[in-house]
Amino acid sequence: MSVNLSEESAQVSAFELKGSTFTLPLLKLLVPDMELVSGQLAHRVEQAPDFFRNTPVIIDLQSLASGDTGVDFPLLVGLLRGYGMIPIGVRGGNRSQNDAAHAMELAILADGRPPKSERSSSSKTTERSSRPETTQETVVVSATAPAAGTEAGSRMITRPVRSGQRVYAPVGDLVILSQVSSGAEVLAAGNIHVYGALRGRALAGVKGNRECRIFCQDLQAELVSVAGNYRISEHIEDSKRGKPVQIYLKDDALIIDEL
């Protein structure tokens, strides 16, 4: 939401803006294959779980920037979150990769060298201002106050979650009384309950809680994940489609059971 600074009372300063440098881990993607990334990431995290917990990471796309390699950011972001990391931005990507990252609300970080294409070196100001007009627009549904009957942190959504929207409950459960459209994404640190059709992506236990579950009335999901263990639509049995189900982890397997 925009704040009109000129109309703010200017007596007490509420904050200071300062520049600062941090050293952050860089995840350098070498292949766009998320299956592969996921598998190897799981292995790494297993070795040093504490290192990854709540760690901000930057995704480096330099190795994938030439050619038109697409990166599935929703999946990648879900994966990283599932392992407890906090993806905050990308660097070194090409234009369409940056657009896709931007759609997932990742920051596009400058990486020292000017982007290769589409920009004349004479215009110095474009660097910051020319965010390309994306046709895709990720809308994060604004944090609503917990509704009556839900614990602090839990969230209840009464309207459909539409394509391009993302709803995230950083603590607690997420309850959706309507549908989740294809192209929409719902994430929760806790359980996820969807009382309409689940056609988009649902990621429960994104901070690593393996006990979390997904419950839905009508399973048509593009992806479901519990604590980073995910299954894509292709790998969901036909016999479970359109059914009310619960999804949970047993050992390392994601189980889908009819309710």
Binding site: Q136, V139, S142, R159, Q179, S182, G183, A197
Partner: protein, 269 residues
């Protein structure tokens, strides 16, 4: 209270302008003071469909820029006294549509009109955002094909968050689904989505189904909203849409394949 209706879509060319013209005329015909505004800067065309393109002196952008007042820019329809058209500019930059400027014009129109129909450009570029920001009601025009339905879903998400109502935490924009260019024959052959499927995917109140009809093109060539064509099925369907919008419950028509041929015409119902 004035209602501001935005006619919008994710994909282009689905029938927004046709719908804006028909709905505005339908509301005015029923005695409601109505103005239809063209937000598609650079692609002026509501005035063509309304048949008043030769009467344009000033436009919406002139009013926003303070170069003309609203009464100078609005064109009164010759067929219906309660209908006004506020055309847009073909030449100016769409950035001229500022939120403040648009808001001011809508506020002024709200003093004298019952309905303000905003014909939006497709998608979420600047003009479209301006058209949807102030809306009370949204008619989401959709064709019975997967890509159009998907894009409509995305538009609905944006409508839910990028509007004055959302920002002020008011009751959300009322959303209506309008399925246009519906061709029962092609639905039957599996080439188009069935109305029930579209409704299931979008789970939205269905305002109407407009059949694919040649009369739409001939009406627009004649500069006449298709709702004025009494022999047109699309015109009839738009009349139903207006009635439903105003609160009447009517069954949906034109969903079945029309029987053709002599026997069909003799015995068909």
């Amino acid at each position: 209270m004035t209602r501001i209706i935005v006619v919008t879509s994710g994909k282009g060319g689905v029938g927004k302008t046709t719908t804006s013209a028909a709905v505005a005329m339908g509301l005015a015909q029923r005695g409601h003071r109505t103005v239809v505004i063209d937000f598609d800067v650079g692609l002026r065309n509501i005035d063509l469909i309304m048949g008043c393109e030769r009467r344009v002196v000033y436009d919406f952008i002139n009013v926003i820029n303070g170069e003309a007042n609203i009464n100078q820019a609005m064109i009164r329809d010759k067929r219906c006294n309660d209908l006004y058209i506020l055309p847009t500019s073909q030449t100016k930059d769409k950035e001229a549509l500022t939120r403040k400027g648009v808001g001011k014009v809508l506020d002024e129109l709200s003093e004298s009109f019952d309905y303000i129909v905003c014909d939006s450009p497709a998608g979420i570029e600047h003009g479209a955002k301006m058209a949807m920001y102030f809306a009370d009601d949204a008619i989401v025009v959709t064709n019975p094909e997967v890509s159009s339905v998907r894009d409509s879903d995305r538009m609905l998400g944006i409508l839910a968050s990028k509007s004055r109502r959302a920002e002020n935490n008011q009751e959300p924009i009322k959303e209506y689904l309008l399925l246009t260019r519906y061709c029962p024959q092609r639905v039957k052959q599996g080439e188009m989505l069935h109305v029930d499927d579209v409704q299931e995917i979008l789970s939205l109140h269905l305002l109407g189904v407009i059949p694919e009809s040649r009369s739409v093109l001939s009406a627009s060539n004649a500069g006449k909203p298709v709702i004025l064509d009494e022999k047109s099925d699309a015109g009839d369907a738009y009349a139903d849409v207006v009635e439903r919008y105003l609160g009447q419950e009517l069954p949906h028509r034109f969903l079945e394949v029309q029987r053709k041929g002599l026997l069909g015409r003799l015995f068909g119902g």
